[in-house]
């Protein structure tokens, strides 16, 4: 369960120093605030999908859930619902979506990839249809706005609201995963589902919990993104985010085979992805190259990690052999 996050941390530090060296304004308070904000937003999604990945599953629907929640929030405001009530309802809806995913996967025994791929299509379709595909805003909900996208001043440095959400989410997630029996069960079932079941673990229930957590955090991200961007395009908001979330989780040390992952790793990986974009912009590299660079960095990061792991495993074997003598 202990997973080295040194690789990804090293990558982060390297890009950080590199960019700071070549771009003077990189370290400015404004830029750091933005970097923290975006990294927090991506990390929250990443943590969600990490839960699912740890069980050996996948969730491709995150982006569409974000789009759906952001769209429905705007719709609710437009229809004159109480905004706080709407927030509660939408978080509830996210839980419900996760529950449906979980039930389809555990009870109907459909594959996670298929269920959530369909989710990706369906929720996007529903967003477009329910809003008649209108771009919408969140007028008259200033309290929620400052809750979800405000800043808390620390001297002159404004800590962005998503950071606080991330901190809460990350601490809860880390405690859940590493200190509670359910976290341990998640790891166990991700590695060997039958074995976990034979140990009396209610694997189905735990898997459902993982999907519920994932969709819930996607829903929360939907609200955060909505207020961060102050507007929603039902057809576009959140598109592709699942890929970034999964990339963050994988780069952060979650194995898609299940049974592995750390929250801290995911957070750092999300930060790496955002840092890369920031760096590309600040260094004036063509935005056309953005995708290529992010893709290459993820690939190299994962490859390096794999190679390091193999070397370490060899060393460990050597140690075990020695220890026995």
């Amino acid at each position: 369960m202990k997973k080295n996050i040194l690789g990804i941390l090293g990558l982060f530090i390297f890009i950080f120093i590199f960019t700071a060296y070549y771009s003077e304004p990189f370290l400015s308070a404004y830029n750091m605030q933005n970097l923290i904000k975006w990294s927090s937003l991506y990390a929250i999604m990443g943590i969600g999908v990490a839960f699912v990945i740890i069980t050996g599953g996948i969730d491709l629907s995150i982006g569409s859930v974000i789009g759906l929640v952001a769209s429905l929030m705007a719709l609710a405001i437009k229809k004159g619902w109480d905004p706080n009530f709407a927030v509660v309802m939408l978080l509830g809806l996210s839980l419900g979506i996760g529950l449906i995913h979980g039930l389809l996967i555990t009870k109907v025994k459909l594959q996670p990839f298929v269920v959530t791929l369909c989710g990706l299509l369906v929720y996007r379709g529903i967003s477009r249809w329910m809003t008649d595909n209108q771009t919408m805003q969140y007028p008259g909900t200033d309290k929620l706005d400052s809750l979800f996208s405000g800043k808390v001043l620390m001297g002159s440095f404004g800590l962005p609201a998503p950071l606080f959400f991330l901190i809460v989410v990350a601490i809860l997630a880390a405690i859940f995963l590493n200190r509670t029996i359910w976290g341990r069960y998640l790891f166990a079932l991700g590695n060997n589902e039958d074995g976990a079941r034979y140990s009396g673990i209610e694997t189905d229930r735990l898997k459902i919990v993982a999907y519920v957590i994932c969709s819930f955090l996607a829903g929360l991200s939907g609200l955060l993104f909505a207020y961060e961007l102050d507007s929603v395009q039902p057809a576009q908001t959140g598109e592709f985010y699942e890929l970034y979330a999964i990339a963050a989780a994988v780069l952060g040390g979650c194995s898609l085979r299940g049974g592995q992952g750390t929250i801290l790793g995911v957070i750092i990986a999300a930060a790496v992805i955002r840092l890369l974009r920031n760096s590309i912009n600040l260094l004036g590299i063509s935005t056309h190259l953005e995708y290529a660079i992010i893709g290459m960095v993820i690939l190299c990061g994962v490859a390096a990690d794999e190679i390091i792991k193999r070397v370490m495993a060899r060393r460990r074997t050597a140690q075990v052999t020695t220890a026995r003598k």
Binding site: D230, Q233, F240, T287
Partner: protein, 332 residues
Amino acid sequence: GKPSDGDGATEGGGAKPKHKIAYVTNGIDPFWDLCAAGVKQAENELGGVECEIHFPPKGLADQKSILETLLTKGIKGIAVSPIDADGQTKFLNEVASETVLITHDADAPKSNRQVYVGTDNYKAGRALGQLVKEAIPDGGEVMIFVGRLEQLNARQRRQGVIDELLDRPHQVLGQVKFDEVAKVFKGDKYTVLDTRTDNFVMDTAKSNAEDAITKHKDLACMVGLFAYNPPRCLAAIREAGKLGQIKVCGFDEDDDLLQAIKDGHAQGTISQQPWKYGYNSVKVLKAILDGDTSVIPANKFIDVGFKVVTSKNIEAFWSEKRKMAALGAKKD
């Protein structure tokens, strides 16, 4: 078969059957919903036409298969915004041979479309350049933000802005020469720094704006070429505490931008009045189907023009937009 003039008229008694036409966009975008409002307005006002509206979700392939389906259905007239006029010419001719075809928003000049309903995006770009000049009369650094530069209208607008700021001579639409992307253009007063694309990803649009503010301390004006760009620029400026310090000039008519113009945080915007696309497209199609070809000008270009919106005319413009948006959102 070819549409015949008296298609509906031959049927005696009862209401005259409506012309079935279609309005096809190049994608899914709020812009197109305002166009759709114009379509509905025309449907209501003119009568005698029934128009279906299609938003191809993902690019050319979807647009093509939608057009094919429309032909299958035997639609009498189609207004389309071609995604790639050059590449689609052959196919558009195929469509034109089966039905009355016009283009809107973007033209396909080499095709057999009957007429093009649109604006001169280069001219609009120059007007936008004018706005920038008004915003920062003493000159300064300007940066451009756009979704994708592969779209012709985006490049024409961008070129218009650059040419205007560098006081270059006017170019003729259709023969515009485009400048490289990764280059800084220095004029006497104005410097155009860079053009950042976001591929329609909203958070990228915003972080591109933020990073520009971070990178260029002396940035004087941000220009957003697609509807969602100016609001993202404004948000970034607001969060940087530089409202009013960095000016914003935009394109299209996002509500956030209009509010900012009203509040004096943004200089102004160029509106193509999208509903006019919709309205005029339907009007022209109906006229042609009714046998009235006089609506087609010699140069086959119906210029719906554009409107420069600044704090002076914001109220009137916005109320018109609100009216149209409400119409567009109404479900049938």
